[in-house]
């Protein structure tokens, strides 16, 4: 475990050095992130121009949810998204051989080798929106709330990682598509709003089958003091189950890898 911490720190350092090469980009990226969150806020504002509840959530509560969503998406763009096209390349060209022969776990390596730091701005902005939402709601979270929030947030991160990893693993079969991430984005976009807003089959799917709702709604609710211990435990259990599933799938997929072309 300590070795992996050290390896991760090394990835971190290498990517930071790489990014420092393009410092002038930072300002543009910063504006882009700000613009993105402004658009999201304006969207919510337009919805609440017509109503004062969305699926039973108030304006402030939806803002907290939006903040959680933005922070989690920032995390995806920071650590996971940059690695997807690289794995596709590895599989297509057979260079995955070099990854497999390294003395670190291959799944760990392919999912964290490349990091895009400026995306952490989105995480920071997300936290800012959470703060603003709490202010609008006039709610000050207690220590227990924050504690619960951290626990379910960790579960959400695990879940996102597992779902993303499973999608990435399909690249062993579908090397043709340049970028599979839009599939994940389409599904994850549903998590931007309260799950109680959806109806019928869609609601069932995004609550139980692909738990998009669980990923964002539970942390937001926890921070708003509406947590329950069973719900948090369920979130953790689901996260660990999906991680196990992703792991199994990765192992299964590796058996199909022939290293042709390498």
């Amino acid at each position: 475990m300590r070795r992996y911490g050290r390896v991760f720190r090394e990835f971190f350092r290498a990517c930071l050095v790489e990014e420092m090469e393009y410092r002038s980009e930072f300002f543009g990226n910063f504006i882009a992130s700000f613009f993105g969150i402004a658009v999201a806020l304006l969207t919510v504002h337009i919805f609440f121009y017509q109503t004062d509840r969305l699926g039973g959530w108030t304006y402030g509560e939806v803002l907290v949810l939006l903040g959680v969503f933005n922070a989690l998406r920032g995390f995806i763009d920071f650590a996971l998204r940059p690695n997807m096209p690289r794995l596709l390349e590895h599989v297509r060209r057979g260079t995955l051989d070099y990854v497999l022969t390294k003395p670190v776990d291959s799944m760990f390596y392919v999912s964290f080798r490349h990091l895009v730091f400026w995306r952490l701005i989105d995480v920071a902005l997300g936290l800012g929106v959470i703060g603003y939402g709490l202010y609008v709601e006039r709610y000050v979270p207690s220590a227990a709330d924050v504690c619960m929030f951290l626990i379910v947030m960790a579960a959400s991160l695990l879940l996102i990682y597992s779902l993303w990893m499973m999608l990435m693993t399909t690249s062993f079969w579908v090397v043709r598509i340049d970028d599979l991430s839009f599939i994940f984005d389409s599904f994850f976009d549903t998590a931007r709003f309260p799950g109680s807003m959806y109806r019928g089959a869609v609601r069932f799917v995004i609550t139980y089958v692909l738990p998009a709702v669980l990923i964002t709604n539970t942390p937001a609710l926890a921070l708003l003091g509406k947590w329950s211990v069973p719900a948090a435990l369920a979130a953790l259990a689901v996260a660990i189950f999906f991680l196990w599933l992703a792991r199994r799938f990765w192992r299964f997929a590796l058996r199909f890898y022939t290293g042709a072309g390498g």
């Binding site: 969207t43 598509i177 976009d189 549903t190």
Partner: protein, 257 residues
């Protein structure tokens, strides 16, 4: 000219077939956002669910029919220098882009219209209630919308002769259009100031306007005024494109190639 176009269309058709899977993925790509927005509005005004279903399905349809991708193509071609290949050919490069647009949108229509018909059998909410003249005006508005979006996208793409971040510029325009073209909300749901803005800007005529004709939200005088404003924008964009083209060709150095 017609014979040239037939040849161009055939070429683009073959090109499209070569990348079937990519085409298909690309066609279904932009569905999630309108669907989610639809759920939001159905939640806010449950009593009008049916009309929201129709509206947002129409948004998906019209958005696909009017979508424009030329800005990314031009950005890449001009930056990498491959644009020179097109310049050497004996026909203005814009004709290649127009032919490509016609072919892809024809394919979208061929696939999406039957899907709509089948879906309408199961969901009566999707049945359009349109008179003959409404259908004609709707189709006209869609073509006009496609032309507007194409011209805007192509003009933006030509900016690549001067700046390297054209895609980012277009991204900003696209986000503004998200609100003012009726993709986030039917325009009548917007706050009054935004609504007023939307009427005079060109974005409404790219997506919302054809749908307003189809649902009967806009009729008579309003339709006539809409077409007039859209035609005005059309003239502005054509003039801008011609000017950008002349100035840009003078600037072009074709580094790379």
């Amino acid at each position: 000219m017609i014979r040239k176009y037939i040849a161009l269309l055939r070429m683009k058709y073959i090109e499209m077939l070569a990348y079937r899977l990519a085409t298909f993925v690309w066609m279904t790509g932009a569905v999630a956002q309108p669907l989610i927005t639809m759920f939001v509005w159905m939640n806010i005004h449950p009593e009008e669910s049916e009309s929201f279903v129709f509206y947002f399905m129409a948004v998906i349809f019209v958005e696909r029919m009017t979508s424009a991708w030329d800005v990314w193509e031009l950005d890449r071609e001009i930056r990498e220098g491959t644009f020179s290949n097109l310049l050497l050919r004996p026909l203005h490069p814009i004709h290649w882009a127009i032919a490509e647009n016609i072919i892809y949108k024809w394919l979208f229509a061929v696939i999406l219209v039957p899907v709509w018909v089948v879906a309408a059998v199961f969901w009566p909410a999707l049945l359009p209630h349109m008179t003959g003249s409404q259908v004609v005006l709707f189709l006209l508005a869609v073509v006009l919308g496609a032309a507007l979006r194409f011209l805007l996208s192509y003009s933006c793409g030509l900016l690549a002769f001067w700046v390297t971040k054209v895609a980012a510029v277009y991204g900003v325009i696209d986000v503004i259009s998200l609100f003012l073209s009726g993709r986030i909300a039917p325009l009548e749901m917007l706050p009054p100031q935004l609504r007023e803005w939307s009427e005079w800007l060109l974005f409404r005529y790219m997506i919302s306007f054809p749908i307003e004709i189809a649902t009967g939200a806009a009729d008579g005088e309003e339709v006539a005024r809409g077409f007039a404003i859209a035609a005005g924008w059309m003239i502005v964009l054509i003039a801008a494109l011609q000017w950008l083209w002349k100035a840009g060709i003078g600037k072009n150095q074709a580094v790379g190639g």
